[in-house]
Amino acid sequence: MSRAVFALVLAAMASACGAEGPPGPQCDVGITFSPADAITGVQVRATAVVTNGVGVLDYDWQVRHAGADVAFTSAQTSSSQAIVFTPAEAGTYDVRVSIVGASCPDASSTLNVMDDNPHGLSVRLHVTPPPDLDVPPLDKRLSISGGGDVDISPVTLERGVRASGSVVSAGAGVSAYLRLVPAGMPDAPVETFSDATGAFSARVLDAPHDVLVIPTDETLAPQIFAGWNPGDPPLELATGQTVSGTVRDSANIGVANAKVQLVIGGVPSAIGTTTATGAFTLHAASPPGADVTVTVTPPAATGLPRLVATNTFAVNQALTVRYASFPIRNLGGVHVRRGGVAQPGARVSLVGEVASEGTITDGSLTSQATAVIRATIIADGAGALPPTAMPGLTVTAVVAVSPSDLAVSSPIALGTAVPADIVVPAMSSFTSRAQAFVTGVAIPGVTLELLPIGDLAAAGAPTLRFTGDATGQITGLLPTGGHYDARWSDAEAIGAPFVDPDVSAQTIASMYVLPKPLFVTGTLSVPGNPNPVPRAAVQILPRTMCTGVACDRPIAEAATDDLGTFSLAVPDPGTR
């Protein structure tokens, strides 16, 4: 064999043999979705599952629906292996991921998204773990179909990460209250405080957060930091926008010592106090175009009400607050009477809201301001009110004749005159009972909670609680003229919780049929932790048709037992 042929043969052999030995296992990529049964409006988590991928991987995602890209965010701060997005419409969503940094094929998967069950119960499941577990809370939407009990196990609490950081202003640490709101779970915020050095620490989800910082120093402007991640640099409080203005009464005289506060885009400002001439200055974070709510609270001695107005005020312009013209009344000597008898020591809460009793303007935009009246006065030993300045507007008196005796007066038109008496009616008795839909039998020991609304709520009246007797009957006294939301519940879960909104002693029904209960059960778990999760608070909260604190009142609540399981009874929405 010639040398040349020999060399060729050698080369061919070398190339055939290769330098790295036999090929390894092939890289494979898949995509998983959580939840797998997605519904509109509920956040979906897509995770890339890579096998035999070697090296440090990065992930390039794309989500499309109906020919358009769908916005998503990374589900983890430390990796792009998972993303979250919220489908707004029903239909198919195409999710694709490319692996960067390894020889892996692209993966794609289609997710079918259904409409939220129109006949189901749309609620929130909120889980607050026991403090010693040190994991963040969970809040997720739950759509409960009727017709049968449901086990939603496992209910997984993410371990989260220990996030530490600091709040500073002009290089110095700032003590503050912080609320960390995770992306994709806005109803599961984590609260904490920073100390005098500005240092804070909290257990949060491994996800971006919007952080509301309210400094203890009221002269510093609170601020929201959007998209903060654990491990980010210190939260540097900006000085904020300097907001100035004046507060004047109807005679155009400055109102001194009035507290002025703005809420801009949901973030409160620092509190400013007017000078003798009614001028004020404060600092606020001011995202452009955000709604601005201006609240002015004058000293009680002036008799002026609080003024509130909302508009897209330009806070870089001077704000002028002007009270409308109404008299200032003195309630001194007004007696609190019931049945003609003076009520010594009665606690009188005067409440009211009257529109268009002032204006707030930035020079361009002018809004009518609502007057909000909240004043509490104690009658003397003769049942007479001490000298008290009040705006000459229409108010209602919520009177506590004694700690357990409440009364609501008719509207008092202080604009017309000061009455000689505030007449409070006697409490009204009521009787009501509850029976179960399923059995048609009265529910012994049923619980009725009456949540004050309207004037009672404005006066800070407490929730009343009654327990039914062996026949399920409840008899009690309620303030005449007072309005409540009636919430029935049964600890035995023979009947499901039931709410009758806006009832009074006169309108509360004599009989309520509690709906058939549907039991939602589950077991909590924490990844990597084999132990059960006892003593966690598990609540089902309303997701729709509620505002304010009403959205924080549970429809049903329980604590997990020693095995980490829970059971909640909710109204069965039925099947159609």
């Binding site: 609270t297 609080r306 909000v372 800070g460 609680r465 604590a559």
Partner: protein, 372 residues
């Protein structure tokens, strides 16, 4: 060597004559013994395993033949059933002691015969015989206790005794409960029916309610018709109902020196209270457990004592900042009580209060808030 020597000698002696002959070695009998089982008493229905020990001079393999007979004492052949209950051919011999003989009478003894032979058929002589006395089996007894209420005084404890008696049958066994009380305290004990776990065991149940604290013992005795008894002791440490503990609170309680800003109406709540008997949220369907009681109080901007909010008895309270001036500092306080209504002796100025051990179990918590 002897044989060889004999052969040589014979051959040497007889060499002038024609031919040689040899003699086979003599096969000797093997000797056998039966390893004694342990010295523990043997009961009817026991499972035993006997082992044969053999010695063969020629080192040959030994074949065994076992026979076990149910007998009455003294277990001579005439005292035993004609037919063996079981036989065996291996070095070890497992068998169950029968409860009854062939005629239905109780087994009082066992006779085990063993024979052995080597490869050439030489049998052991004499054949070993093992005679075992068989006793009446006492009942087997397992006990346990459970309490849903942490063994708090005055609450029921469920006691269970699971019995079986393989020779007399589970239904022939009776169970008694003997209570020893600390300091002559009274108690209630009521038996109740419990489903049997299987065909062999019978479970007895008793609901025991101690009316005093301290260490209680309950001796559970299971007795068969012949008076054989087995006793097991249950020990219970009964304690007083402890004060309740605030397990969860919302919103966050500010650390000492800090204030919680309220920018909107806020629901203050105690979602979870843990206690031996009075918890929150309430437990459905339990005749003993109750619900914790809540008392809410406020200290207004002008200071002074915390004043109870009349009628606020649920686990939550709404505070609306519009009822105050911006910048007003208001303290919101919750206190919890169980059915014992123990007065909290902490000064009003203390933000927290604990009347229990450990002191991390709080019956009072205070939020210091500022209206924003």
């Amino acid at each position: 060597m002897k044989c060889l020597a004999l052969l040589v000698a014979v051959c040497g002696t007889l060499a002038p004559l024609a031919g040689c002959f040899y003699v086979d070695p003599i096969n000797q009998r093997p000797s056998l013994t039966i390893d004694q089982p342990s010295s523990d008493p043997i009961y009817r229905a026991d499972h035993l395993t006997l082992t044969a020990r053999a010695n063969d001079p020629e080192g040959q393999y030994i074949s065994y033949r076992w026979r076990a007979y149910a007998c009455v004492s003294p277990a001579e052949p005439a005292d035993c059933d004609r037919d063996p209950i079981t036989t065996g051919t291996t070095q070890t011999f497992p068998f169950d002691v029968p409860i009854h003989r062939a005629d239905g009478s109780p087994t009082e003894a066992m006779r085990i015969d063993l024979e052995g032979s080597d490869e050439l058929g030489a049998t052991s002589k004499p054949d070993p015989v093992l005679k075992l006395a068989v006793n009446n089996r006492p009942p087997d007894l397992a006990t346990r206790k459970t309490s849903r209420y942490s063994y708090v005084v005055g609450t029921p404890v469920e006691l269970y005794a699971e019995v079986t008696d393989l020779d007399d049958g589970r239904d022939a066994v009776t169970v008694t409960w003997t209570v020893s009380a600390p300091s002559q305290a009274a108690h209630d004990l009521v038996e109740f029916a419990v489903p049997d776990p299987d065909a062999i065991h019978h479970t007895y149940g008793a609901r025991f309610t101690p009316h005093g604290t301290g260490e209680w013992t309950v001796d559970v005795t299971a007795t068969d018709p012949l008076g054989n008894a087995t006793t097991s002791q249950l020990t219970l440490e009964v304690a007083d109902d402890r004060p309740p503990c605030l397990a969860q609170l919302s919103p966050i309680v500010p650390p000492a020196g800090a204030v919680l800003p309220l920018t909107e109406p806020t629901l203050f709540s105690a979602p979870v209270v843990i206690d031996d008997l009075d918890v929150y949220p309430p437990h459905a369907g339990d005749p003993v457990l109750g619900t914790a009681r809540f008392v809410w109080s406020l200290q207004g901007p002008s200071g002074g004592p915390h004043v109870a909010v009349a009628g606020a008895t649920t686990n939550s309270l709404v505070i609306d900042p519009t009822a105050y001036q911006p910048g007003d500092v208001v303290e919101v306080r919750v206190e919890i009580y169980d059915r014992n209504n123990v007065t909290l002796l902490c000064p009003d100025g203390d933000a927290t209060c604990s009347m229990s051990t450990p002191s991390t179990c709080l019956q009072r918590q205070t939020w210091r808030t500022v209206m924003r």
